[in-house]
Symmetry: C2
């Protein structure tokens, strides 16, 4: 994390509470996005907020997500509803000597903007390949290729990373000075997302081997 | 999961895409909420959506979250802005024989409503204890007690679970019939959130023991 400002803070993105947790540099924002699988996408219908979890990916200074061409979420957003896309990671429980100073370690990005449909077929196909490649490199080439109808049934949205910021907490608890004298265990209980042992589809053909891209990974 | 309807579906909560993934029973909704630590809270300021990740808890048919009395998010919501609180779990990558049929296994709840500030001091204190107890039973009693100023500096919001639904995907990939003949590995790569080895605060007093409530856990 650096103090570089690649994404100038705005009324929406400036971290007001605990401003030292805010970061506006590309490296921090990209790293938090790339460590995530699911984004929570916020949008507004008739003045009411909706938050839909969805898988997403990043390419350069853009985030992408996708779904059925019939999806209410995608239709609303593609129709011009502003978006807040949030990606968060819970990294640990911060356990202090008082309830008040308990906290969590986390990394989060909030990105605001308008999203647009990817209309060019080649660009859409490439973006779906980017999505696959970033999670499971090499898998795309092993698959039965995407056909025209599937491409048509899939909507891909893209949004420029312009108005965005990161917020990060790390490290041990910060207690009131006098509480450090108390014989209470304090510390951090780390949290991680991990992948487990792959489960073979019961309908796999005999002799089909698990590919290398399934190797267990810590996110 | 059952087909019981405890939370009658509305325009907002009825699962339209893939309706068989929708659930409206209390047991499913509660279980998904209780397995989560972080909620993504959506709200609207000047017509624009905001999605803030925050820790939350449930008591009976209510969800709670908290923060600084100076928080913009809490102030906006407490002032009467409608809320969408979403809790999601990524359970696995569903890897099919075509890109199109790749998916994720997940559990998610979306809850809509208006949130209200907990104003009664005893109720506020009890709700903060509920929050602590649900994550680390027994810890609350070990801590330096909450004082008046801390209680005043903390805002707790509550929202009734009335307009809510769950959406769940489980199981193996579902491929096109003819693709099952292809020699491509398919299956599920499970994902879990796990806690790791606790990290002692460097300022713990000598001889302070780690309490039992830190034992590693799979969420």
């Amino acid at each position: 994390m650096t103090d570089t400002v690649d994404f100038p803070p705005t009324k929406k993105t400036k971290v007001k509470r605990l401003p030292y947790r805010g970061h506006y540099d590309r490296a921090t924002v990209h790293a938090i996005l790339d460590a995530g699988v699911i984004a929570h996408v916020g949008y507004v219908i008739d003045g009411h907020p909706y938050v839909t979890p969805t898988s997403f990916w990043r390419h350069e200074d853009r985030v992408y997500w996708h779904g059925s061409s019939a999806s209410r979420m995608l239709e609303t957003i593609e129709g011009g509803s502003p978006v807040c896309l949030t990606v968060s990671h819970l990294d640990g429980f911060v356990m202090a000597r008082s309830g008040f100073h308990h906290s969590v370690n986390y990394r989060a990005v909030m990105a605001f903007g308008m999203a647009h449909k990817v209309t060019d077929e080649a660009e859409k196909l490439q973006s779906l390949k980017d999505f696959s490649d970033r999670l499971f490199p090499g898998r795309w080439e092993m698959l039965r290729p995407v056909n025209k109808q599937e491409l048509k049934a899939t909507m891909v949205l893209k949004m420029d990373l312009k108005e965005c910021s990161a917020k990060v907490r790390t490290g041990p608890p910060v207690d009131d000075d006098e509480d450090y004298a108390l014989p209470i265990w304090a510390g951090v209980l780390p949290v991680k997302m991990v992948t487990g042992e792959p489960v073979d589809d019961p309908r796999n053909l005999p002799g089909v081997k698990r590919p290398d891209h399934l190797n267990p990974k810590i996110w």
